[in-house]
């Protein structure tokens, strides 16, 4: 009796263990990395079905748009399937680095000029020139200056999707309520400061709780870069060294400190509090500041959130009688060096930037479309706010230059800059100490890369 029981128990437990072990293995093998292209995609019926993957950063609205573009591409190329892992801006870069390390990176990746050096200098991207030469990738409709922006040390590592410049936005309803003149399209930093102080004064007198402007002292790019350029210098040289002087950085911190001392911009702790919130909760959307900086392609998002009035955009100021700060920014597409299907990936990029349906879906999602044909195609569908964006980008592009791209290590430098600006804001260090510290840390980081 007991023996039978024992035997039964051992048989049953053997079975349990076997299923567990077996389940573990299948569990492991069935968990192919998302967006990976680890398997040789040969489906039995069509013979030649290829799977590529495309990843981007963005929010829900962007995901819907890009998914639709992928669907259009699949419909036009029945033998190619597009996987679409995506993430928010902050997660995106952390995840991408690990994916590339593990060899499971997507074929096509959304690329940004602030990050391209991190990836190209580490040989993670594919040179796209051969695909342009062979005619798979048609770039003839991209303006020369934008196309040039895809070259890093002589190799074509990325293709522009959209081109954009940054500015300061304001809501007409807010200004009307205060009874203050709107900011001018073309203004100096001095005028900017006066305007911010004025907004605060008038708001106080009417018992409205708001500051003049957002505190952008910690924004390395684009805002500090504009400041450097209007001073006739560059943020980074072509050789990947810093190209600005200590006094320029010191004046920058000083400029914002003066506004902070006059209560024209939020205090340091308020600024910290609002730093990482989604746009519907940020200082501008909640009406706590009158002016705030942003890339022009996001204008429509703020217009959608505005309860009344028009959200307009004006230039980032320059220094009186000095150079313009404008430089071309944009969003790009790259192919990873490890891609198993670079030809199909190049085909996808070609479709993305040249196909009319794809472009009419894209509209201004990550800037004004990079091809001249696409701009003509999307213009009839534009809402007033989108037309304002196009006009702003076109006007500023006329005076914009090309800034040398940030070198590898810029992710760290960007964080350092924000931290130092924060130390100045909390009055931990003086603007001069901040400038000295930042230059020292820049040199530290750049010498290590």
């Amino acid at each position: 009796m007991l023996n039978i029981n024992k035997r039964l128990i051992s048989i049953v437990s053997m079975l349990i263990v076997l299923t567990m072990v077996f389940g573990l293995f299948t569990g492991c093998s069935g968990k192919a990395p998302s967006g990976g292209n680890s398997t040789n995609d040969t489906s039995s019926d069509s013979g030649e079905k290829v799977k590529i993957s495309f990843t981007w950063w963005g929010d829900t609205a962007r995901n819907a748009i890009y998914n639709k573009i992928c669907d259009l591409f699949e419909a036009a190329n029945p033998n190619i399937k597009v996987d679409r892992p995506f993430g928010s801006w902050a997660q995106y870069w952390d995840k991408l680095a690990t994916q590339i390390a593990s060899g499971s990176a997507p074929d096509i990746i959304g690329m940004h000029q602030d990050y391209v050096s991190e990836y190209s200098s580490r040989k993670a991207l594919l040179d796209l020139k051969p695909y342009v030469d062979s005619g798979i990738l048609k770039t003839s409709d991209i303006p020369e200056s934008a196309y040039k922006g895809g070259f890093i040390s002589g190799k074509l590592y990325m293709i522009p999707q959209g081109i954009v410049t940054s500015g300061y936005l304001y809501n007409t309803a807010t200004f009307d309520k205060l009874g203050i003149e709107y900011p001018k399209m073309d203004w100096t930093w001095e005028e900017f400061a006066q305007r911010a102080i004025e907004i605060k004064k008038v708001a106080d007198s009417k018992n409205i709780k708001m500051w003049g402007s957002s505190d952008d002292s910690g924004l390395l790019m684009p805002t500090f870069n504009y400041w450097v350029r209007t001073n006739g210098q560059v943020l980074f040289t072509e050789k990947g060294k810093i190209g600005f002087t200590q006094d320029v950085a010191e004046n920058w911190f000083m400029f914002w400190k003066n506004l902070r001392d006059k209560d024209a911009i939020p205090d340091a702790s308020t600024n910290t509090e609002y730093a990482n919130l989604p746009i519907e909760q940020n200082l501008f959307s909640t009406g706590k500041v009158g002016i705030a900086s942003l890339p022009a392609n996001q204008l429509w998002l703020y217009q959608n959130l505005a309860k009344s009035g028009n959200v307009n955009i004006v230039r980032i100021p320059h220094l009186a009688g000095k150079a313009n700060g404008e430089y071309v920014e944009g969003s790009f597409l790259s192919i990873t060096a490890a891609s198993k299907h670079p030809k199909e990936a190049a085909k996808f990029i070609n479709f993305f930037i040249n196909n009319t349906d794809a472009q009419r879906t894209f509209k201004l999602e990550q800037g004004v479309p990079a091809t001249t044909t696409a701009v003509q195609a999307v213009t009839p569908d534009m809402t007033p706010v989108q037309l304002r964006t196009i006009k702003f980008v076109n006007d500023t592009l006329k005076i914009a230059g090309n800034a040398p791209y940030a070198p590898a290590g810029v992710a760290e430098i960007r964080t350092d800059f924000a931290n130092i600006a924060s130390e100045v804001a909390f009055n931990k260090i003086t603007p001069r100490e901040g400038a000295i510290k930042f230059i020292k840390q820049c040199n530290d980081v750049l010498s290590r890369k």
Binding site: V21, D94, T272, T415
Partner: protein, 294 residues
């Protein structure tokens, strides 16, 4: 061999799933990270051996010192507070109140939720300038600050969040209190001992092994704390690095700056630090942990 198999085979077979998991997800990664800590691995390119360079860099890294100070502060405040609070609640519950089970469950809930993203976000809301705490203070006419965005107070909100997750220590204390022999109390009462005296002379000495166990577990946990600081500071350990816990700094180095070799070295330094602190606690344990077998 056959005998050994007969005797132990089934046991090892049962262990197999866990063994494979440990090997793949714990042991191999641990040794990989040890190797990587001697390389300049940057995630995107193959690693090259650079000897002790990472380790020598750590000791002149100002941020490393900052994060160490923040972490020690966090551990020194959060662990003792959390344990005393857990013990206090456990003693109250041990008084035999009605509905003990419900209370036990309710007090345990924060421990289940505490590490979650949602709670960290909630914490942000509670301690904001227009948050719940300042709402309460304003009723007393006190004008509150933004607790999370002020360098001198930000870390204490994290400590409070850690203390609030006292549930698991509390449950363990509760079962320990139930083990204290009742006759000890009876004889003490005959001698005229009162509440606090009873606690100091009987309850606490009797549960010291459990205090010791909880202390070790919580210290290890606190040193590795990451989630709440990451969420509450938006990933940057701000304001002014006041919430830059060691793990958060390690994460920044590894995943934001691509310095995986350096981050691995940081991880090993942390291991050595935790090991030393636990060693110290063990060394003092002879002095205060009461062991019935002796």
């Amino acid at each position: 061999m056959r005998n050994w198999l007969k005797k132990n085979g089934a046991g090892y077979l049962f262990l197999l799933p866990w063994l494979i998991g440990t090997l793949i997800f714990t042991i191999i990664p641990i040794f990989t990270s040890l190797y990587l800590s001697f390389t300049n691995y940057n995630i995107l390119n193959p690693a090259h051996f650079i000897g002790f360079q990472n380790y020598s860099r750590i000791f002149i890294d100002k941020k490393f010192i900052t994060s160490l100070i923040v972490t020690f502060k966090f551990v020194l405040f959060s662990v003792p507070l959390q344990l005393s609070f857990a013990l206090f609640i456990a003693i109250l519950l041990n008084k035999g109140i009605a509905g003990l089970r419900i209370y036990r469950a309710v007090y345990y809930i924060p421990s289940l939720l505490g590490g979650s993203v949602a709670i960290s976000i909630l914490w942000r809301q509670i301690f904001n300038k227009e948050g719940l705490i300042n709402g309460l203070l304003s009723k007393f006419g006190i004008k509150g600050i933004n607790w999370i965005a002020t360098p001198s107070t930000a870390l204490y909100t994290l400590i409070l969040l850690a203390v609030w997750q006292f549930g698991s220590s509390m449950l363990i204390f509760l079962s320990a209190l139930k083990q204290v022999p009742i006759e000890l109390y009876e004889s003490a009462e005959i001698d005229g001992a009162r509440g606090l005296r009873k606690f100091a002379s009987i309850t606490f000495p009797m549960i010291t092994p459990i205090v010791f166990f909880n202390l070790i577990m919580q210290v290890i946990n606190a040193f590795q704390s990451f989630n709440s600081a990451y969420i509450i500071s938006g990933g940057n350990g701000g304001p002014l690095d006041s919430t830059l816990l060691y793990s958060l700094y390690l994460y920044q180095k590894g995943f934001s700056n691509f310095e995986m070799g350096y981050a691995s070295a940081l991880a090993w330094i942390l291991l050595i630090i935790i090991g030393s602190v636990i060693g110290l606690i063990f060394a003092t344990s002879k002095k205060w942990v009461y062991n019935q077998d002796e």
